[in-house]
């Protein structure tokens, strides 16, 4: 069978000593830098890109891929330990992961993230190997109308992200959508809400907004009752998940993997949705949804699995079409071109050893990630016992540098302060930042695809209903809406939230 021969070829490439070495180096460097707060995978790869220029193409790509998942895992670590997501996908992990850390369960949270990611990575690697070409064909069926409908479904379902008032969560989502629209209008080039700052022409910087509303706000909240406690976590119970934890995380990991694998394939932002979607699914089907937002292990397991599966399957459009699904993939394509490899449909035919070598090394990289990180958990958890007066200035300094490296732009730092203030005020008023960030990411996508679909259909709104995929997604969105606002369900929901208050 072709597949086995291909995998064999890939295994031969991936297990060459030099490739193994640089795969490990990539994973290690990625983890170490990704763990620094404020520095996510994109910044890490951009910084480390020049190191790989001197290598063979396969070695270079294997190392970059290693840096990618290392940095992604490192980003989840900071999300869990100090509530600071380095990129949109780990914003969801922060919700329950940070609560677990505050309850002294940082160890199990980190282990869950590592094991969930590994499982998801394994499944996604197999998916890529077996289904890459047919999956690409499916992904291409997604036109603007389908994207719009998918985003509507995502928005309707995202109410589940709230673990307080639904109204406030909706308000935060809409605020996020509005903030996402700041910048040049794609259709006309008109400047919107930029207040005359050319720095805003490309929109607000995601990293700056995320650090503001999550990181700065959290530091301020911790400074409120500084006198009560010096150390973030007084007692760390156990480092590894208990039997009950394993039972609780198993299915969420499987479901998260499924959700992430599917959404990751969609070029143009599907992967961003995956962790949000996985969290939503878990909270919806949970018998005890009120635990979410208060340290539910499912709330860490599912989005982390989804996030990693999506990260992996987002290689599919990159490897088969040469199309970047996210900024990290854009960097990888740049690296390939510099290495003399033209990304596109011909890579698998012209350079099979590179194509399959990279795919196999994904799995090896994931394995290394687990082996590397399980022993490190003890070390990361100890970070939490550092006195807060020492910890937070370090966090803040790293954040400043991290934000600055994205665009070398002072304006982005002013954004951090402004959103830090806004985030703190909103947190004081009981509004959670995660829905705002989701809206921020989705806002431009939603509007662009709506207007694009209308342009292509020449102003015929029926396009959303006559295309079967789009219609199916909209029906699903309507169903979710009915379920959310059905009197019986609603009464139960209110009851759940009353308990909280």
């Amino acid at each position: 069978m072709d597949l086995l021969a291909n995998l064999g070829l890939g295994l031969a490439t991936a297990t060459e000593p030099v490739n193994l070495l640089f795969c490990f180096a990539g994973v290690l460097l990625g983890t170490l830098i990704g763990v620094l707060p404020g520095i996510g995978p994109t910044a890490t790869i951009a910084m480390l890109l020049p190191i790989t220029f001197g290598f063979e193409p396969a070695t270079s790509l294997i190392m970059l891929a290693g840096i990618y998942y290392g940095a992604q895992y490192g980003g989840s670590t900071t999300a869990i330990l100090i509530n600071l997501p380095g990129e949109s996908s780990s914003a969801v992990t922060a919700i329950d992961g940070y609560q677990m850390a505050r309850q002294g369960r940082a160890g199990p949270a980190l282990a869950t993230a590592a094991l969930g990611s590994f499982f998801a990575g394994t499944v996604a690697t197999v998916l890529i190997a077996v289904f890459a070409p047919p999956l690409t064909a499916v992904a291409l069926k997604f036109g603007p109308a389908e994207y719009f409908s998918l985003l509507m479904l995502g928005l309707v379902a995202s109410v589940a992200l709230a673990h307080g008032s639904v109204l406030k969560a909706l308000g935060m989502i809409v605020t996020g959508l509005l903030l996402g629209l700041v910048g040049s209008d794609v259709n006309t080039g008109a400047q919107r809400f930029t207040m005359g700052f050319p720095e805003l022409a490309d929109g607000l910087n995601f990293v700056a907004v995320a650090i503001g509303v999550f990181g700065i706000a959290e530091i301020l909240r911790n400074l409120e009752n500084e006198t009560d406690r010096d150390v973030m976590v007084k007692k760390v119970t156990n480092l590894f998940p208990s039997k009950a934890d394993f039972k609780a995380m198993a299915w969420p990991v499987v479901r998260g993997t499924a959700v992430g694998s599917i959404l990751g394939i969609l070029p143009g932002g599907g992967a961003i949705l995956s962790s949000f979607a996985a969290y939503t699914v878990e909270k919806r089907i949970s018998k005890t949804p009120h635990r979410f937002g208060k340290g539910a292990i499912e709330g860490v397991a599912a989005p982390e699995a989804a996030n990693n599966a999506g990260a992996q399957t987002s290689f599919i459009p990159m490897l088969t079409l040469g199309i970047p699904a996210n900024p990290v993939m854009a960097l990888m394509i740049g690296a390939m071109i510099i290495q003399g490899v033209q990304p596109g449909p011909n890579v698998a035919i012209e350079k099979p050893e590179l194509f399959w070598g990279v795919i196999v090394s994904m799995w090896i990289g994931n394995l290394m990630l687990v082996l590397l990180n399980l022993p490190l958990i003890g070390l990361w958890v100890r970070l939490l016992t550092i006195p807060y007066t020492v910890l937070f200035p370090a966090i803040l300094t790293f954040c400043c540098i991290g934000v600055y490296t994205v665009n070398s732009n002072a304006f982005d730092l002013f954004t951090v302060s402004a959103f830090g203030l806004l985030g703190y005020v909103l947190v004081k008023l009981d509004c959670e930042p995660a829905p705002l960030l989701l809206g921020f990411v989705l806002g431009p996508m939603l509007e662009e695809n709506l207007r694009r679909a209308m342009t292509i259909s020449r102003g015929d709104p029926m396009v959303f209903f006559t295309r079967p995929l789009s219609a199916g997604l909209l029906i699903a969105a309507a169903l979710v809406l009915v379920v959310v606002f059905l009197p019986a369900v609603r009464a139960k929901r209110e009851e759940v939230f009353q308990e909280e208050g």
């Binding site: 951009a46 080039g189 050319p198 143009g268 199309i323 854009a330 740049g334 665009n407 070398s408 694009r452």
Partner: protein, 327 residues
């Protein structure tokens, strides 16, 4: 006594890290040079920059560090360099956008023609007019007929206001005197995805992005926007051969320095650029991108200056006629 030793220590410590004060042209470059790319890392311009920066750095004996200053169609990065010290340690690598933003932006923070000194042209990346694989017209002539007959049906994708694909489309439409429905995207990546998926009919993009798709049969090419055929796409006719003379667009790249850079430093940089453009690795990588290094005559301050001013004059009327501005 003690003060002196502390002072010596401090001097020694700092001296190892950097050198302060105006470096004499004779020992230029005495420290790493920063080359600003006004776009984010990973894009085609970033790739060109990194290739050239590495080769030039080797020649100059100092590393050239690439700094990505993205935003506002490249005008933020260009503005940054325009205001930088003209000491030869901050350079700019910009593409055709340097010329078009002079018209696309009605208020620029710098004067395009007078804020920079010129090092030289680097390369001119050709563009291709492409369509989805199952689009009816078979050649450029039938495409033009088809577009005129179905102007309400044909959709043209571009990568946003001011992008090369947008300029190319404006030029095409003005050449065939037909306005097609334009579908803007944020960058060529998503636009290409929708072209591959058959969601839009046609677009114009640089060979960097299209060559492999054309060779793989995923999209069809009608013409290249060059005077001569592109080496990597020998079967694709030029626009002139295919019956549309004057439909020429190239994404040319040039290296600039802030105004006031000393002539000696500029001469060193130009010489280094010329050497870099003869580097076999650079030539090979450029060929992979479907382009070739600029000639020795073009890779000079005069070559770049002439190109910039002629391109400003060429695009201003096209942009003004379309009435599209980016601010």
């Amino acid at each position: 006594m003690r003060r002196t030793s502390v002072r010596t220590f401090v001097v020694a410590a700092f001296a190892t890290a950097f050198v302060i004060g105006p470096a004499a042209a004779a020992d230029y470059p005495a420290r790493p040079i920063t080359m600003v790319v006004p776009f984010s890392a990973g894009g085609p311009t970033d790739t060109v920059t990194r290739l050239v920066a590495e080769a030039m750095g080797k020649d100059l004996g100092q590393q050239i560090v690439v700094e990505n200053v993205g935003g506002a169609g490249g005008t933020l990065g260009a503005g940054r360099v325009a205001k930088a010290d003209p000491d030869g340690y901050t350079l700019l690598l910009h593409h055709i956008g340097m010329a078009t933003s002079a018209t696309l932006y009605r208020k620029l923070p710098y004067d395009t023609l007078n804020a920079f000194d010129y090092v030289g042209l680097v390369t001119d990346v050709p563009m291709t007019l492409v369509a989805r694989a199952d689009f009816e017209p078979t050649d450029l002539k039938s495409l033009i007929e088809y577009a005129k007959a179905n102007k309400d049906k044909v959709t043209y994708a571009n990568a946003g206001v001011g992008a090369a694909s947008h300029l190319c489309g404006m030029l095409f439409m003005s050449k065939i005197e037909t306005v097609l429905t334009t579908v803007p995207y944020k960058g060529t990546g998503p636009a290409m995805t929708d072209l591959l998926g058959g969601q839009v009919d046609m677009m114009c993009d640089q060979t960097t992005n299209t060559t492999n798709q054309i060779k793989g049969g995923k999209i069809k090419a009608y013409a290249t926007t060059t005077k001569q055929r592109v080496a990597s796409l020998p079967d694709v006719p030029t626009a002139e051969e295919a019956g549309l003379p004057g439909f020429e667009v190239g994404i040319w790249h040039g290296i600039y320095a802030p105004k006031g850079t000393s002539p000696e430093v500029l001469a060193k940089l130009t010489a280094s650029l010329q050497t870099a453009l003869k580097d076999p690795n650079v030539i090979k990588r450029f060929a992979d991108l479907g382009t070739a290094p600029s000639s020795e005559a073009e890779a000079t301050p005069d070559g770049l200056k002439a190109k910039l001013s002629s391109e400003i004059d060429r695009w201003a009327p096209v942009i003004k006629a379309a009435g599209v501005y980016a601010d």
